[in-house]
Symmetry: C2
Subunit: 679 residues, 2 copies
């Protein structure tokens, strides 16, 4: 039987793909970069979903280089069928300006190269480090500083020192970020050679490095700041365990191919790729389509530090790394509580072999408090239900930082996307002797360690299928005062909804003053009660957009980060809002470019790109590892149901929930009894 | 021993208070309204907290009327001590324009009065209701329509019909809101007589009621819309139970007087009153003060329907009702899961007797996902902790509506205030034959039932004590682009924090473009790492403010609802941002008035009023009972700690958490084994 178009990349497909490439380039050594399913057209896929077409042929894409050669290629491969073997159907020459992302394999290799380099060794010598000091490189994407393409893929490697204390140094979670060194290393990815050393500014007003001072500067001793539990002076001992159990089992089912989840009237395919991580496909509720495809599509993390070379710092954690390929191997009892279902997913290594991402995704149910309640005050009778959620979680580690990414379904037909930002902030060295108090682009979190201000700007790609695959339209609604009017608003209290259609590729900003919200609606499905079109609303508060100057390289590159919404015409080749290859890219690719075409959006054609984020003003409280910063964006049904879809959730009862009452104090019991029995 | 100033009102204090009033008015029948602790001065209380002063004397306030007389009085009573008996120390004549709130006792009484009234019976006759029909009145505060005080306290009573189906009608949760009748009843609170009938508009453009049409109109049959579980055609049967347990007990302790809670370095008094419900007093962390007093201080719910008499609809659910006196009797296994501690609190009845609010407050611990995590990608070692929360919950039922109010403490030293709005929307009758499709101030949720657009605007009163009781200052911070500058920002990427002091009574609006946040800081406590003052930041997104015209009665009355923040000088007599007596008030009392004094705010003097809310554009999905709408505002430490305060939370481990892995599919297991063992 033909494979489902939403089946995530399978190990045999990875092997077919790399075999095809190896055969084509027989005798040459191939460096495999990224591999994934090349998604078939929406039209063909929808025909298949609706039973009017065959399963579209499975295809993969693969980017690779011939080892030692600069050019990057991307081939498309038709995977084998009962009729035909796997075959390369097209090849794209990406030249020397489009750079695939780095993997953890790259990172390890870079650390070695840097440490063996003579320039680096000379810098380490300059520092006159104490005996036993261990230097720790931390590779980063190079960023972009000029609109002229660099023509070669580069890394910027930050340098740190491990703790001088042997116990801390040997610990697997030893925190070298407490000891940033005053130079960084630029590495050429092709030659795998160090290109140059960039010395780092140490004073807040040192926009360009004072090379004279830097050339003779030696090491300064910073205090340790360990986060590993074994390295804490004392742990809390009074936090009693909470156990969460499902004695009758879980409420979800997973198909035998491990891809289709059904839970509480929801059904969806749990697709996955190296770049976006979890991708939800064909999300339906009681068989009614809601979304064709949902994903976190990109993220940018620009820094506000003006000093060279920090002006380049702007990470694209999906396109330069990947939410899938950096997914943590999740552990039972650590990353979730309760009854947890884990999923493996697959990617390739640099040799083109399948690499299992074990426990890359987990899924579990959560009791999230009351779902709805009403008490009739006359009878005292309360009707109350719980809000049950199904959480699909991936945690990505991208160098120093973690993002906990969740898609959350609930019993009231809502979907939420939740991000929890945690991990270790990007830290830079600072002169302990300099006055940093007036600095406004960062703070000192520890002597010698500065945390620069930065933003985390996320972009969701929302491909709607509101109660049908080809009928969705996009609208936005403002809520406005009606204006005092003797005839229609004689007391000046009125306000109402003003609805606007999005009919062209364009952008839009939120405005709290207007309570503005974007909705996707199906004008052919009118609600029986309200006579308004079935829809889903995007519930997201306005957050600060990119602060870098629009003309700066950060502004030019992050095409999604300047507006809360972009709307574009559906295209399988337009999945990533800052373009396919963010690494050192110089702009001109992504949603801003696509939206500028201003093409008409006919029903079923519109894709919604939703941007939100945090501006992180660092706190000492975020050091050495930061407590989660939580953000939720919602997709909420509006006129999709005739009444509360959670009306049939069974009542919340002690006979089912088995809670326990904590004993009251003697005084309270006495007071209760005295008053009750005294009457 | 003298009682603690933060001890909530005790039953013997209620008795002392009413005895004193009864004695003073011997021979007269007293109608007791509200009673509470009259809070001692902050200065005297702080002296007591710091051990430099005695416990300030306990005092109560009580509002009451002589039965049959219009004047409202408020007396202050010194409660008895070892030296002296209880005594009235002052009396305030509130005249006939300041109206205390209604209680459930009032509501029950009103229902009877309305149903026995001849005018009401005539209206019911006009409707020609079918046999067996049961009319259900729903009393509301009257609202305000003119700046001339009415001189008498009035109710507006909405009229509904219970289901015609006997089973539904007899059910204790029978939903009469599906059957709104076309008239309302105005009742004089003093005479307890119906003043007049207000017929209701039935068409969307009927700004003033068409009395000719209304006078001959008869009943229209609307479909039932029941929300009780027993009245649903079918309940879900596939939601498996989740059990939450704490086998080693809970992590909190409660003092013997049932008032002081200690948990995870937090300590606070769980004060409570009829009006604000839970009030947190003297909140400390590791013995360091953070907040002197935290409370939800008021809420307004203005409606956008311009039609008479709906132009009056603007409820003040605290000042006209009370979060304390409408608190639900919370039930084990229904309102929370896990190990739950319940608290009783006390109010008075109309005769001046103590009335126990049983289980008015509950407290329990919640596992709220990951608290912080970092994986060192080199070693694969993950350090991960859970985010534990302590939730203090009260649920108020105010006529048709519920607010689930939570104060939430966590292990990272954050405090959150969470509101979940649920219950039944305020519904109005609508002509089933009229076209409602173009209406923008509401929607039809069911034939004959219209849900008007409305806002829920909340105001928190935050009385800071940042690392000291008398040193807090208020600042706000914007994050701004620095502007391209060859010398200081040569690449145009820089941004930073701009800090502003609040030195006068004033107001402020949030702005997402500026990432604006209000902070309370102690300039005398500089952070050892950052050298910045210890502080707590208010983390709240900007939400839509009041939409009614500023000159309308809604605009005039809701003094807090036009700006996100007000700042005023501390005063024990200024606790309520829309004034002490919102019922039919005509403005001129509250934060807008106080802020207009523009008095200087010296350290320790400033009080912060924080306004946020939802604009509720009704959905059929909110009918007949709405799924929770969740809002969280945070108080987060900034420069208060030298590092992550959750660093000493023990690691999250399976040996403690006892989670369970859900079995994988056979295909997945096979794939895993094949790939692992094949190598």
């Amino acid at each position: 039987m033909a494979r489902h178009p939403f089946l995530s990349l399978q190990p045999d497909e990875i092997e077919q793909t790399s075999t095809a490439v190896r055969t084509k380039h027989a005798g040459k050594e191939i460096l495999f970069r990224s591999m994934g399913i090349k998604e078939p057209s929406r039209a063909a896929t929808v025909a298949f979903l609706q039973g009017t077409g065959a399963a579209p042929p499975r295809k993969t894409y693969v980017s690779y280089q011939i080892k030692g050669e600069p050019t990057v290629y991307e081939d498309l491969i038709s995977l084998s069928t009962s009729d035909s073997p796997a075959a390369i159907t097209s090849t794209r020459d990406l030249g020397t300006t489009n750079f695939p992302p780095a993997t953890n394999i790259d990172m390890h290799r870079l650390e070695d190269i840097v440490m063996r380099d003579a320039l680096v060794q000379a810098e380490i010598e300059r520092l006159q480090l104490p005996a036993g000091a261990v230097v720790q490189p931390e590779p980063w994407p190079y960023g972009t500083e000029s609109s002229t393409p660099a023509g070669r893929r580069q890394y910027q490697v930050w340098m740190f020192l491990k703790s001088l204390d042997a116990k801390a140094r040997e610990h697997p979670s030893s925190n070298h970020f407490a000891h940033p060194l005053d130079f960084s290393v630029v590495v050429d990815d092709l030659t795998m050679k160090v290109v140059r050393i960039d010395r780092l500014p140490m004073r807040p007003d040192e926009i360009y490095v004072d090379e004279a001072a830097a050339s003779t500067r030696t090491w300064q001793h910073n205090p340790d700041a360990e986060y590993a539990s074994e390295l804490q002076p004392k742990l809390r001992h009074d936090l009693k365990p909470i156990h969460i159990s499902q004695p009758e089992g879980v409420s979800f089912t997973v198909s035998d191919d491990n891809e289709v989840v059904e839970w509480q009237k929801w059904r969806f395919h749990l697709d996955f790729n190296w770049r976006e991580g979890v991708v939800l496909r064909d999300v339906t509720y009681e068989g009614r389509p809601t979304f064709y495809r949902l994903s976190l599509a990109e993220m940018t993390v620009p820094y506000g530090d003006p000093r060279v070379p920090y002006h380049r710092k702007s990470a694209y954690d999906l396109g330069e790394g990947g939410a899938g390929c950096t997914a943590n191997n999740l552990e039972l009892g650590c990353d979730c509580l309760g009854a947890i279902r884990y999923f493996d997913r697959w990617m390739n290594d640099h040799e083109g072999n399948p690499l299992a991402l074990k426990n890359a995704v987990c899924m579990h149910e959560v009791d999230n408090g009351i779902g709805w309640k009403h008490t009739n005050y006359r009878t005292g009778r309360a009707e109350v239900t719980r809000n049950r959620e199904l959480v699909i979680q991936t945690i990505m580690t991208i160098s120093n930082y973690e993002y906990i990414l969740q898609w959350v379904f609930d019993t009231a037909a809502n979907i939420h996307f939740e991000v929890r930002a945690t991990g270790i902030m990007s830290l830079v060295p600072a002169d302990q002797g300099a006055a940093h108090d007036g600095m406004n682009y960062g703070i000192m979190v520890s002597p010698g360690v500065m945390a620069p201000i930065h933003q985390h700007i996320f972009c969701l790609r929302i491909d709607p299928a509101i109660d049908g695959y080809d009928e969705s339209k996009i609208v936005y609604e403002d809520v406005k005062a009606m204006g005092w009017n003797a005839a229609t608003n004689p007391y000046g209290v009125a306000f109402g909804v003003e609805s606007h259609s999005i009919t062209q590729e364009s952008f839009l900003d939120l405005d709290a003053k207007l309570n503005r919200a974007v909705k996707m609606v199906n004008p052919n499905r009118l609600n029986a009660a309200s006579h308004k079109p079935a829809g889903y609303k995007i519930a997201v508060p306005p957050t600060q957009l990119q602060l870098a100057d629009p003309g700066s390289m950060h502004g030019v590159r992050a095409e999604f980060a300047d507006h809360h919404f972009y709307f574009t015409k559906h295209d399988e080749d337009e999945l990533f809002p800052a373009g396919e290859f963010p690494w050192q890219h110089t702009g001109g690719s992504g949603v801003r470019t696509w939206a500028s075409r201003k093409r008409d959006l006919k029903p079923g054609q519109g894709v919604v790109w939703c941007t939100f984020g945090f501006t992180h003003v660092p706190r000492p409280e975020d050091w050495p590892v930061m407590p989660v910063e939580v953000f939720r964006a919602g997709l909420k049904p509006v006129n999709f149901f005739d009444k509360n879809p959670a009306l049939d959730v069974p009542p919340s009862k002690q006979s089912i929930n088995k809670s326990v009452e904590v004993e009251r104090t003697q005084r309270e019991i006495a007071l209760r009894e005295k008053q009750c029995c005294g009457k």
